[in-house]
């Protein structure tokens, strides 16, 4: 579904991503892990188009090898949503002065079916959003905002969902629920998920594959079952 090849990215002078390769197979949940500041968020931003990449390719769609897919690096940020990519950024990034409902409605434009209705499913998933429909996004508590951010990404009914630490600040039972939803969407709608997550239990429970990053490079990858304590010790502890 998403194939990243030899990606390099810079912030001014500093080289943040180095020759990075990553495969995100369709209908699975791939979890990117790594210590603070290794470039996980940067990678997500590159996929979304928020940051420019120096070189490398990001192929979206197509088959296993990426053939028939589309090179995202040449696509503008605003076109990617229409291709079916939903994004839950780190730090929530909700629109603080729009109401909860308006926040959700923003995504409607990118829906493939042109529907003008917010899917009921989102309210079912996060009842608090329905309750607070008319409250400004910025007034919500941190966790509520996070739920809103996820709900907003689901509005466009994405084919690929990018989640940057989605569980952050959310109460445990809802975190679990989010995990369940992800699984359900993967199974029912054949959704593909690219997940950044630090919390091992969560990753282990809901991801299919993992990739570990260190200092801007991908240093390990595999099925989640292969994520050994050794790897963790090597790459995820200081």
């Amino acid at each position: 579904m998403l194939k990243i090849e030899k990606l390099n990215q810079f912030y001014g002078e500093s080289h943040t991503l180095w020759d990075l390769d990553l495969d995100v197979p369709k209908g699975q949940c791939t979890c990117v892990m790594g210590r603070n500041g290794v470039g996980k968020t940067t990678l997500m931003k590159c996929v979304m188009g928020e940051e420019l990449v120096k070189d490398g390719r990001i192929i979206y769609g197509g088959d296993e090898s990426g053939a028939g897919g589309e090179d995202l690096t040449r696509r503008r940020l605003e076109d990617r949503a229409a291709l079916g990519i939903g994004y839950v950024p780190q730090g929530r990034q909700i629109f603080p002065l729009l109401t909860v409902e308006e926040n959700l409605r923003v995504g409607l434009a990118a829906r493939a079916d042109g529907s003008k209705q917010i899917p009921e499913r989102i309210y079912e998933l996060f009842p608090v959003l329905k309750e607070m429909k008319n409250r400004r996004g910025g007034d919500l508590s941190g966790g509520q905002q996070q739920q809103l951010a996820i709900g907003r990404a689901l509005v466009i009914e994405p084919k690929l969902l990018i989640l940057d630490e989605p569980g952050e600040g959310i109460q445990p039972n809802i975190v679990a629920q989010i995990g369940e939803v992800i699984r359900r969407l993967i199974e029912e709608d054949n959704l593909t998920v690219l997940l950044v997550e630090q919390k091992l239990p969560f990753a282990r429970k809901y991801a299919d594959k993992f990739a570990i990053m260190d200092r801007g490079r991908r240093v390990a990858e595999g099925d989640i079952a292969e994520l050994s304590d050794e790897l963790i010790k090597q790459h995820l502890t200081v």
């Binding site: 603080p96 002065l97 941190g142």
Partner: protein, 387 residues
């Protein structure tokens, strides 16, 4: 990094002198002053290198504007307060000086009244209004040059900062302030000469304002004032207080939570800046020969901000560069292309904005990347310290 950690251990006032940028600035400034003085005094009048007293005065005026721009940069660049009313402080300093100069005219006015300035005789004022007393004494007038803008800034700032007025709201009330003062000074009842303002000055501290020597003296005094003002601003900016200012600029609420009284920091810097503006105004008046309410005009204050932005915000020397360039450009353009100079000036503003995001100072070698150009505060959509 020019703010190396070692410099933190210096005294706040001596620190600027150890900084590269200040050394260069002062060097260039004093060298320029020396050259101008030499060319003015030592060159024969018909030499191509001769600097006429017209030019000397013109340069003196630019330096006043430069000091004013530095004052604005201090509050805008480092404190995040976009003052659209700094012309008010400039004008108040100017009026204080103008009142002194008026009193110095004595009985040499057209009506020959020994006490009343001409415009008062002319409008049948019986006696000098109370607030004109004392301005016959130079020391008093010079104190007022600092106090008048200082106190206005203190009162205004106290109210505004205490109420936590920020961003555009603050900008607009500074604008309202200068606008209101402009209208008030226009009123003849105010006793400041109405629209005509104060003119026809004769001498300052006993020196005839029309002599070349006095002009040169005023030019040099302005240069020194600019140097001192610059160093004071540098000292503040380089001190811990300067860093707190930047903190207030970028995250006012957060600064409070670590224990700084933001409103006092703002007030202090604002008052210092207003006083510097007042000094600039006071030196400006004897050199241009008139002070009138149009210096309070909101558009003039906006223009000052434009100089700073053009030169490069939050650098101080950028403000100086901006003021010099814009005003020099005005002098030249209004002379050589009187019908089209606004196109040139307008285009200059647009081009600099689009192509030089850091202002002209950004072109200088060694410009610090650290200078932040945009200030989320004034957009009205600040996002900080939120849940």
């Amino acid at each position: 990094m020019s703010t190396t950690n070692t410099s933190y251990s210096q005294s706040w006032l001596t620190r600027p002198f150890t900084e590269r940028s200040t050394q260069i600035f002062l060097g260039v400034l004093f060298a320029a002053m020396a050259v101008v003085t030499f060319l003015h005094v030592a060159m024969p009048q018909d030499s191509a290198l001769y600097v006429s007293s017209y030019t000397v005065t013109l340069l003196g005026k630019y330096l006043c504007y430069a000091l004013l721009a530095v004052a604005v940069d201090l509050v805008w660049g480092y404190l995040g307060i976009l003052s659209l009313g700094h012309g008010a402080f400039f004008a108040l300093g100017g009026y204080a000086m103008g009142m002194y100069l008026m009193r110095q005219i004595g009985d040499r006015g057209v009506y020959g009244d020994p006490v009343l300035p001409d415009f008062m005789v002319f409008l049948n004022w019986e006696s000098l209004p109370w607030y004109w007393h004392g301005f016959d004494m130079a020391w008093f007038a010079f104190v007022m040059v600092l106090l008048a803008p200082g106190i206005l800034a203190l009162v205004f700032g106290f109210l505004a900062f205490r109420s936590r007025v920020t961003g555009v709201y603050l900008s607009i009330i500074t604008q309202a302030l200068t606008f209101a003062l402009m209208l008030a000074f226009f009123r003849n009842e105010m006793g400041f000469g109405g629209n005509n303002g104060l003119t026809d000055f004769k001498d300052i501290l006993g020196f005839d304002l029309r002599t070349d020597a006095t002009r040169l003296g005023l030019f040099l005094a302005t240069g020194v004032a600019l140097a001192i003002g610059y160093v004071i601003c540098r000292a503040i900016v380089g001190s811990k207080l300067g860093r707190v200012s930047v903190a207030c600029r970028d995250a006012e609420a957060r600064t409070r939570f670590i224990g700084y009284r933001v409103e006092r920091v703002q007030l202090f810097v604002f008052v210092v800046s207003a006083m510097l503006a007042g000094v600039a105004g006071s030196l400006y008046v004897p050199q241009v020969g008139i002070i009138n309410p149009s210096e309070f005009s909101p558009l003039f204050s906006i223009e000052i901000v434009v100089w700073v932005a053009l030169g490069g915000r939050a650098t101080l020397y950028g403000a100086v560069i901006g003021a010099l360039i814009v005003n020099y450009a005005k002098t030249v353009f209004t002379g050589v292309m009187p019908d089209a100079w606004l196109f040139a000036l307008g285009a200059l503003f647009v081009l600099v904005t689009v192509f030089l995001p850091k202002g002209i100072a950004g072109l200088l070698p060694g410009f610090r990347k650290k200078q932040q150009d945009d200030d989320p505060k004034t957009t009205g959509t600040e996002r900080e310290a939120t849940a």
